[in-house]
Symmetry: C2
């Protein structure tokens, strides 16, 4: 009894954006019911079954009634293969030709609705689109929608370990593993697959990129039956499963004495291993690899390069159309803070640009959005644009490692939009990151976007209920990068919380402001870090200043920032196309929000807004706290419009955020006051 | 086979100062053998058996022969009770009357040797003294020694946990517990008891002062049989066993709903509990209690004070002559760094001085040597002198928590000497700390010294072989505080490494310089901290600067230090007797080595040596590293004189110390260069 109550209390948090709220308005109910009372679906494949399940669930929930599944129906679900049916509904060949294999058409005519998928997967996406339209109360009359994803791979990386922990996870334990075994909670995994498919995510790697001892065995008999079980669940929602592998597997699993990529025995071992994996899972996606990075093994051990390493796996995977996703997060993590010449920001470019063109065509390099590591503000990685003959995936981080860890609010879509819109200029104006990752700029065979998931086994999936917006937004944006952050947010709010105008307005304001608020009270002007070592939550100005991680702010009594100019610094700027390089290099042209990333400036340097750097630091830290107080009062104004569980979940986290923001403000301001000796121009309370 | 070899390789490290090296010189052999060839010992009590075992072991090892135990003998071992024998050997009543109950007389006459203990324990100490004399090759002819310990309690605190870990332990795992059970390795415990008895340690608490969930049960049926087993081992070497207890035991073990010291049910519970413990161990020593400190439970929960809490236990223990050792390490560990009025250094005095006179006479307060927490240099705790009607134990830390963790060399006896010799002046000149802890100044019923042990299950007991000197030195100094640090060291070197003059000279120089070397490259001038949080090893200048622990240096662009003066600071100085208070308070009188403990000064402040504070900081950090290099070359010069295992053990640690010292030098110098902007006067290499 208590369990049921608890479940119903938390149900809304659990359902995320798939609420399928009961339609109470009679007129609306009549309109939508007229379409879904009868449904036809030909094939009963795995994906077909998922489509049917989802529609039954949604219809039951929205109408309290069940659809009749029959040959002649008001709602027709089919694929392009069904030419007769297309003709009957007046859908012509041109419309179809424009679709890529994951696209679909939704068309209404004479009170009949058809959803045509370019493939079954396309049909699945079309059905989720239709359900989204109904949930948003959009009229279906005379509807014509033709839609397809812009990016080929739209992937999630789970950093889950078999012991149930999640590296950089802030939403409980893994839903994939618990207590050293692969989960048997298939209901939960199915619901996760539904959430992902509903926003178009089509790929997932199901274990941590740091592949530890036990996880190395995921590609062995010990686990393959279990992995296959999960794979089937995701496959039925159009989500292809990948595994992160240990480059030293031939040694650890195969008991060879080497993992050298040019060794014939090693090559043979991987061929047999891959054959074994595909015998369990014919639609297996391939491998994700973190090699020679942060002490993980890799080809460097054998004096081979990353192309040798990636191609080894690519050759083994190629007969099955499998893919190697090779991460570019390679840098010297034993740096000496005394050494101001070495620049971690340079590392990915320096390692991988010389290898451009040497990778097999089923290798794709996965590149973090910025050159450092998911800081609150970084320039775009210069690898985008510089790599021209290599498949590329952009890597985002949905989990808020450096961005408040789902205690602090931070809606990430605006940041991701900036990255995608960044113009690398390598092929002239319009060479945006988006044009690279959607494959158009260099006609890449494989491309797309991956991101580290923010989900776990908490009721809300994401710890902070409002962090669901980031998972949703990630899917929607990677599907269609032309959507604005606001559009995505409005969709999410309506689907998650309903149609109240006040909810929409207030939540939009809160979430759209949240990134900038977080930046204000932490590390504005592009400097980053200043966090507590290891766990990365909370302020510690010198926390990484004398570390081996290459993460410094170089604050002294005159100023701060990292000199990455070509004249006096590390010349990192020159990894960009000339126009961008010149802009970042020139103190008067470099955008203020990246100023300290590229320049070491005196505290008295004037920003474009006329303020000195130090005054901007004080101001933004005072404002950051005030803004969190504003977030709290905004949220409180929504109390009557939100169920108690989700209200409390967010309200509690906003209080944590407020203490965090205050601590950031006071420590940062005191640190720089002590160092610069320059008082606040407004004479506000600071601690000496 | 391999095991045996390993054992013989490490045997010398294991034996510490009880080497009992074979006597090779014929003349010496003949001299000593003439005394030990026949021995008489009357009683075969537990301690008597231990004495016999020790002599048999030593004689076998030194002479390769066995003594004959017989009534008439060359060596007579007896106690004051044996009046007939004393008369026979011409020992008169005055000599005996001067001894306290742990004292002894050793007398040689006509090639006969007698050791008389004021008690059996005294006899045990006398025998160890005799063996020390032989090991040091001192002639026994016409010897007369009359010796007794100056301090009543000479205690070790083991911070061992039942899971086998040791809080602040740097020498492996516990020898008392492993894998969640009390050890069955009684050989090792017996050898530990021998080591302690040989230097006069007469009390030991066998579990961590932080008493966690499982350890709470040490005073319950679950463990008492095991504890009794250990207690018997230590008792047979004259070492009384104590247990650290959880103040909330009545709740956790007794399932009462309170632990209120004034509650009759709680009082009754403790009475019964103590009766139960003494039914297992009639000679049990009593309880060590850390209450209301760093989140441990205590009387504050019930709005009672520490006298109420301690007296509760004292009343229960009193029928058995048991003792309550109540720690004074009580302070606010949730301090706000913004608050410069609260001063952790004040806390112990502020808490306990108002309670002076309110404790039962079987309560003894255990007071850390300094007001903070075992930093490399602190003033003496002002509780010494201020408490006049309360039993007191001085607490040292042998384990090198903040002093290099037995990776870095730090011989501690010179520091302890300074503490004992400090003149509190409360009763005029000569009111030294030693006169308080030996009970003479205030005629205390109970007094003495306790220290946190530095031992563990590594072969050498102390990780760093040379850290054995601290365990030895602690015992010898607490026995006789008039011994100099050099005298103790010379004894230890000869007993541990043998008689080579070069060894004696070089090792003396190394160890006597080591505290000052460590201070130089870490935190000179009394400021302390600047370490990595939690584990406390290695430099992190701001590591505790914005913490909740009350541990700040307040370095800003102009200067550093904590203002504890009466005029502008926290007035901590006034916790000392006026003469000391005035001296610490006056900038020009305060000793330089404590300057920053008491004063916030500009970097340009001139020390008594004419240097500025900042220049002294640079100099001492450069010198510290050079001095470690000197330690290394000194040690290397001893290579041929030391067995390979111990040589390597120390050589490896000296290298770790060198990297540690370099990192301290560079980070501290860079930190202060960046903050002060003042360059090194000597233009040495510094990193900006």
């Amino acid at each position: 009894m208590q369990h049921v109550e608890m479940e119903s209390m938390t149900e809304q948090a659990y359902r995320c954006w798939l609420q399928y709220e009961t339609i109470l308005n009679k007129q609306e109910e009549a309109h939508y019911w007229s379409y879904v009372q009868t449904i036809s679906l030909q094939k009963e494949t795995l994906i077909g079954q998922a489509i049917k399940r989802e529609l039954n669930l949604a219809v039951e929930s929205m109408f309290g009634k069940t659809s009749t599944w029959q040959e002649d129906a008001q709602l027709v679900l089919t694929t392009v293969a069904d030419k007769a049916r297309l003709r009957k509904h007046g859908i012509n060949q041109e419309e179809i030709a424009e679709l890529n294999e994951e696209g679909y058409i939704i068309k209404e005519k004479d009170n009949q609705l058809i959803v045509v998928g370019a493939s079954e997967k396309g049909l699945l996406y079309g059905v989720f689109h239709l359900l989204r339209l109904i949930s948003q109360k959009q009229s279906l009359t005379d509807l014509t929608i033709q839609d397809a994803p812009q990016n080929q791979i739209r992937m999630l990386n789970q950093w889950d370990n078999i012991d149930g922990s999640i590296e950089r996870g802030y939403s409980g334990q893994s839903i994939f593993y618990s207590n050293g075994t692969v989960t048997t909670d298939e209901k939960r995994l199915t619901d996760y697959a539904r959430l992902l498919a509903s926003v178009g995510i089509n790929a997932i790697s199901i274990n941590n990129v740091n592949v530890w001892k036990e996880e190395t065995h995921l590609i062995s008999e010990r686990y393959l039956t279990d992995v296959q079980r999960l794979e089937e669940i995701f496959q039925s929602y159009g989500v292809t499963v990948y595994l992160s592998i240990n480059f030293a597997s031939p040694i650890e699993l195969g008991h060879l004495d080497t993992a050298d990529p040019l060794d014939a025995g090693v090559q043979q071992w991987w061929k047999e291993k891959v054959a074994e994996i595909y015998s369990y899972m014919p639609r297996f996606g391939g491998f994700v690899v973190k090699a020679d990075s942060e002490h993980r093994p890799g080809p460097f051990t054998y004096e081979r390069d990353h192309a040798d390493g990636a191609n080894l796996l690519a050759d083994a995977l190629s007969p099955y159309n499998g893919m190697v996703i090779w991460r570019c997060f390679v840098y010297n993590c034993m740096q000496d803070w005394r050494d101001r010449k070495t620049d971690r920001a340079r590392a990915a470019y320096d390692h991988f640009v010389p290898l451009d063109g040497r990778f097999r065509d089923n290798v794709v390099l996965q590149i973090k959005n910025g050159p450092m590591d998911f800081q609150v503000r970084e320039p775009v990685s210069p690898l985008f644009g510089a790599l021209q003959q290599t498949n590329q995936l952009l890597e985002f981080q949905i989990t808020q490692e450096y961005l408040g860890q789902q205690k602090d609010l931070c809606y990430l879509v605006p940041m991701w939009k900036e990255v995608l819109q960044f113009d690398t200029k390598v092929q002239g104006e319009g060479s945006t990151v988006q044009s690279i990752v959607n494959g158009s700029l260099y006609q890449a065979k494989i491309s797309g976007i991956a991101a580290v998931a923010n989900s776990g086994d908490e009721q809300s999936w994401t710890g902070h209920t409002l962090a669901q917006a980031n998972l949703f937004g990630y899917g929607r944006l990677t599907w269609n990068a032309d959507l604005t952050a606001e559009e995505i947010l409005h969709e999410w709010i309506v689907l998650t919380f309903g149609h109240e105008e006040k909810l929409k307005r207030v939540l939009s304001e809160m979430l759209l402001a949240s990134w900038s608020i977080y930046e204000n009270y932490t590390t504005p002007l592009g400097i980053g870090w200043m966090v507590n070592p290891n766990h990365h939550y909370g302020v510690n100005v010198d926390g990484y200043e004398y570390s081996r991680w290459g993460t410094y702010h170089f604050a002294d009594r005159e100023g701060l920032g990292v000199d990455r100019t070509r004249e006096s610094g590390t010349a990192f700027v020159d990894q960009y196309a000339k126009e961008n390089a010149d802009r970042f290099n020139a103190l008067d042209q470099c955008p203020d929000d990246l100023l300290l990333f590229f320049h070491h400036v005196p505290y008295t340097h004037r920003l474009k807004n006329g303020k000195t750097v130090i005054q901007h630091y004080y101001d933004s830290h005072f404002e950051g706290v005030t803004d969190v107080e504003w977030l709290i009062s905004e949220w409180q104004s929504l109390k009557s419009l939100i169920d108690p569980y989700r209200y409390k979940n967010v309200a509690e986290r906003l209080q944590l955020q407020l203490s965090n923001a205050r601590e950031w403000r006071d420590q940062v301001n005191t640190y720089f006051l002590r160092k610069s000796g320059i008082p606040d121009a407004d004479g506000r309370k600071m601690y000496e």
